[in-house]
Amino acid sequence: MKILVVDDEQDIKALFEQRFRREIRDGAFQFAFCFSGEEALAFLQEHPSEAILILSDINMPGMSGLELLGKIREKSPAPPPFIVMITAYGDPEKQAEAMRLGANDFLNKPLDFNTLKEKLAHLEV
């Protein structure tokens, strides 16, 4: 499964790469990382229909995660790709907004990778 992770924090890449070390080694997941909404859009433009799942942070400088969500859903109203938004804990407004714009699920920060892995397992099925 090709997964695009969008987050402005650089260390997210190192984190995912270690957390999914085995899965990456086994070829189960393939990760791509973008550090802004603009970068993500450009990436999707260059690699159309590649990313099955997009994991995006909401609070980002420049284009916010919600804006990105809107733009992606404009072109692809239904999954693929699945879009999972990462929100700050206890922000119900943003959650509601995300669902309204077409997000499929959401996760809270700080990221719990076990939960994430469970959700990914469900998606695969």
């Binding site: 260390d11 190192a14 984190l15 270690q18 957390r19 920060k109």
Partner: protein, 454 residues
């Protein structure tokens, strides 16, 4: 003259005199004597009935006359008495002259008896007439006195009325004064509360953002430490093998090291955010201490950036500094001045953000607009200058005068208390004896200039 009617007349006259001259009030002792005239006269009457005391009849009139004269004399200070004396005196003189002539020149007296009788009658009429005149005068006087007393009474009543009114008014005014005092105290309390809540608001803005901001570093600390534990287990597992893979071990150790570095980095990041926030919350002792203004400005610049970015991640701006290293340490209250800088920097960031939003909404955003806030310091001859410059929306001329007014804000309701600049102005001018000025051009940007004396 017969005695009996004479007695009646005399008693009547005495009574009249007593009333007219008010002897009861003015010569009470003598009045008591006069009041006995009834009794005395009746006794006198019976005495004169005695055989050889008949001559006393004549003397009765003289007795009465003498009584009157004594009365007049005793009350000689009173006008009414003097009047009465005028009535009595002719009679007196006639009596004296009559008796003189009767004893000294009896023959002459006999021949002129008509004249002397007439004189006596005239004296009697004079007494009567004058008595009536005196009575009328007395009444007039009594009436006058009464009128005056009435007038005085009215004046007193009026005075009492006015005093009452004044007392009422004074009570009203005192009550008003107390109410105003109370209102003043309440206003002062409300003002204190507002200042406090402004401080809390700016603190609250920070805390909300800070909480957000801390989540990211915390996320990394938790995750990388978990990962490090896993890696350590893996490492141990591998090293248990007699022929462990050296390269793998090296890789694992390298990852471990990297993770610890990241944990350290993000931990420090969180700590800095918290420290900055605590410093801002710390109440100022008001004491001036030698402070490095460059460090202060830098700290609050980053604090502001953190806070705003955490609150609104779409917020994006450049910050630049230009610090004069020669300014040294200045005696300031660091928390207060820090708040001033924080406020100005916040405003600067807000302004550039506004401009950015405006331009993007009207699709005029170009790569050429780079929202920037610059903080610079410079040492002058007797002062230190701090400049906070932004290339944001600028301030229109019409608002320029108002910005330092308390409660003035252009931010939407709930977003700004409007107290920041007015407090900042007070801190700089009153607290530190400095000046704060603003240079601005609408649409282009704003510069706030603080000068502090050294």
């Amino acid at each position: 003259m017969e005695l009996a009617p004479g007695i009646l007349l005399a008693v009547g006259v005495i009574h009249l005199v007593r009333k007219t001259l008010d002897t009861a009030r003015l010569t009470p002792a003598w009045d008591k004597v006069l009041s006995k005239i009834w009794l005395v006269s009746i006794v006198y009457f019976f005495v004169t009935l005695l055989p050889f005391l008949g001559f006393l009849k004549e003397w009765y009139g003289r007795l009465i006359y003498v009584l009157l004269l004594i009365t007049v004399y005793l009350m000689r200070e009173h006008r009414s008495a003097r009047l009465l004396s005028g009535a009595l005196l002719p009679g007196f003189f006639v009596y004296v002259i009559d008796h003189f002539f009767r004893f000294a020149f009896p023959a002459f007296h006999e021949s002129q008896s008509d004249f002397f009788n007439t004189a006596e009658s005239f004296a009697g009429l004079w007494l009567l007439g004058f008595g009536i005149y005196a009575l009328i005068q007395n009444n007039k006087e009594v009436k006058n006195r009464q009128k005056q007393e009435e007038r005085i009474r009215q004046a007193e009543a009026r005075k009492a009325e006015l005093e009452h009114l004044v007392a009422e008014r004074t009570a009203e005014l005192t009550e008003q004064k107390n109410e105003l005092k109370k209102s003043l105290a309440e206003l002062k309390a409300a003002q204190d509360q507002l200042v406090h809540s402004e401080k809390m608001a700016s603190l609250g803005e920070l805390t909300a953002g800070i909480a957000h901001e801390i989540q990211n570093p915390l996320n990394f600390v938790n995750n990388f430490s978990e990962l490090s534990v896993e890696i350590a287990h893996e490492l141990l597992e591998e090293l248990e093998k007699p022929d462990f893979d050296r390269e793998l071990v090296k890789d694992l150790v390298s990852d471990l090291t990297q993770n610890q570095e990241k944990i350290n980095h993000h931990g420090k990041r969180a700590a800095n955010i918290v420290t900055g926030m605590l410093q801002h919350a710390r109440s100022s002792t008001g004491a001036k201490e030698p402070t490095d203004l460059n460090a202060l400005a830098d700290e609050y610049l980053r604090l502001s950036y953190h806070g705003l970015r955490a609150k609104d991640k779409s917020f994006n701006a450049k910050m630049s500094t230009d610090f004069d290293p020669t300014i040294g340490k200045i005696e300031v209250v660091p928390q207060d001045l820090g708040r001033v800088l924080l406020n100005l920097i916040n405003n600067a960031f807000y302004a550039v953000h506004q401009k950015n939003t405006q331009l993007s909404e009207s699709s005029q955003l170009s790569e050429s607009y780079s929202p920037t806030v610059t903080v610079s310091t410079k040492k002058l001859k007797n002062a230190v200058e701090i400049r906070i410059r932004d290339n944001g929306t600028g301030i229109p001329d019409s608002l320029k005068a108002k910005i330092f007014q308390p409660f003035f804000t252009t931010k939407p309701t709930g977003q700004g208390t409007g107290l920041g600049l007015s407090l900042a102005y007070d801190i700089v001018t009153k607290g530190h004896g400095g000046t704060m000025e603003v240079e601005t051009k609408e649409g282009e940007g704003t510069t706030f200039l603080i000068k502090l004396p050294v």
